[in-house]
Amino acid sequence: MSLETPVLLKRIPTAPWGDPADRKLVAYDDYVAADGYAAYEKAAGMEPGEIINEVKAAELRGRGGAGFPAGVKWGFLPELDDKPRYLAINADESEPATFKDQLVINTDPHSIIEGILICMMACQLDTAYFYIRGEYHHHRETFEAAIVEAYDKKILGENARCGKINNRWPNLYLHRGAGAYICGEETGLLESLEGKRGWPRIKPPFPAVAGAFGRPTIINNVETLANVPFIMLYGADTWKQNGKGRPEGAPPQVPASFGTKLLGISGPVKRPGVYEEDLGVKLTDVIDRLGGGPRDGTRIKAYFHGGISMGVISQEEAEAGVELDFDIGKKWNNLGLGTACITVVPEHVSMVAMARNCARFYSHESCGQCTHCREGTKWLYKMLTRVEAGDGTTKDLDMLLELSASMGSMPGNNICGLSDGANWAIRTIINKFWDEFEAVVSKQKMVSLAVVGA
């Protein structure tokens, strides 16, 4: 199975359809020449409810990590009153190993702007904020320039061709972050937008009811919205021809994986980069066919398949047939598909070092509100540093597992998903690569400790 024609990378040369060396900015005129803004015009002639129904019918699931169905989220909004309503576009992209949205932002920004406007029409949101991480400097300039073009061409702003939305002319503003992973969490993002520290909020209330500035707000990832113009233009059924449906006879509650997905490949492969494939593609296929396989002399040991927060997949699991779809978590003992950006871990890199790297990330990026997360991640990092240095004991390994398993919004003692990420990353690395951990701890104190503990 391989994708015949790209949906999201239609105008961005990518193998096997094009050569990345030919990539250049798709400006407004180029965009329009390639079907651009036709979906915008079409949506402008539709009722908001019709647009939402189409997106619901497509079963478009969020591409930011959690995989929540976009159409369902859009349906959570309350009835209109006469005050503003907001859209926040999540372009924070700070999950380690994740670099998929940046390609579209930097190369085909109008495809995102079109998706944004269709979402605004569907949900009756008059103002949109594009929250982009602070480190995307070139991307920020490109996107700002595209926004200016969109105002000039009356896609946005006063006398916009789509007319008023929620009784106001639609506006889109770029809002620059300043280097904090937690601002990718949707309510941390809203706090940051409001000019505060990016402390995630306790939910409920959910942002659809009380979000930015206390008003109804929809938050979607860049890639999620970039899918919307295609769905509008060609219909949900055509869009659903890509990807993977639910198994034969499965009830609608079973998550389907329709559509394509942007995939990032990094680490020691021959052709790292961003690719597009059907959801449901085999992990080994992605690495070999798209990534060109491991670099000469390298053997692969493991993968972070969705950013680090989803945990790891071993090479044995990959060879046993791991597929990148929304069911990956249940099937292969990890947290989920995540961002579908894959880091290849070669044989010579220690998994203890990888765990230490992840723990350092979480301890550094924890926002500090919840005790378990703030202290727990710090503690994980300290212990793993010690274990890596060869000063760990077997007891440390048990404690690492116990500690990481106790953290998270799913165990229920933390506000947001950062701690779940720490939980799954550390726990799956240790469990799936137990031997490596045992080898470094057993060297020194294990024997004497066994005596002490006896």
Binding site: P84, E93, S94, E95, P96, A97, T98, F99, Q102, R133, G134, E135, Y136, H137, H138, N171, Y173, H175, R176, G177, A178, G179, A180, Y181, I182, S192, L193, E194, G195, K196, R197, G198, F213, G264, S266, G267, P268, P272, G273, V274, F304, I308, C341, T343, V344, V345, P346, V349, A353, M354, N357, C358, R360, F361, H364, E365, S366, C367, G368, R374
Partner: protein, 173 residues
């Protein structure tokens, strides 16, 4: 270091000339005020603007910005200290940000860091004595396909080697 408070207890050095000139404020107001329903929402943009101008966030400038946003200076400081990109202490003329997350670590970021340390004679999160370069190690900068990578100020450098990173450092003036 999102939740560690950066040292903010230094005495405030004051100068007569305001950091935020009338024309700066007027331009900023025209560009940003209509975008948000509250003035506080201009916090991140104004901090970026001040840092763009002065390369860091002088305490007096923060006070002036807080007055401009009609919030308490402590509230603005609270925001500023949360974000890694804001410097509430002076930094070097150039800032080099090296990614240390997983994709870069597996592509031997350690060799890049070592080369920088040797070339500059400083450790991460320090500034060279001549005030030229501040060296930061940070988490994923979203360019993992080109690991190991670093930002030199606002310019991205990918697929670095110890040799190329030193060459780039020597180009900084």
């Amino acid at each position: 270091m999102a939740w560690l408070t950066k040292n903010s207890a230094a005495p405030i050095e004051r100068r007569d000339e305001p950091y935020l000139s009338e024309s700066f404020k007027a331009d900023f107001e025209a560009k940003y005020a209509h975008r948000y329903p509250t003035r506080r929402a201009m916090a991140l943009p104004i901090l970026h603007a001040i840092q763009h101008e002065y390369n860091w966030l002088p305490p007096q400038a923060l006070e002036e910005a807080a007055a401009f946003l009609e919030i308490e200076p402590t509230d603005l400081l609270d925001t500023a200290t949360f974000y890694e990109e804001y410097f509430i202490q002076p930094r070097g003329k150039h800032t080099v940000w090296v990614c240390q997350s997983v994709s870069c670590e597996v592509m031997d970021e350690a060799a890049i860091t070592e080369a920088i340390e040797d070339e500059l004679g400083i450790e991460p999160h320090q500034t060279t004595d001549d005030g030229k370069v501040t060296f930061m190690k940070v988490e994923c900068i979203g360019a993992c396909g080109g690991a190991p990578c670093a930002l030199f100020n606002e310019t991205l450098h990918e697929n670095l080697t110890p040799e190329t990173v030193v060459q780039e450092l020597r180009k900084l003036d």
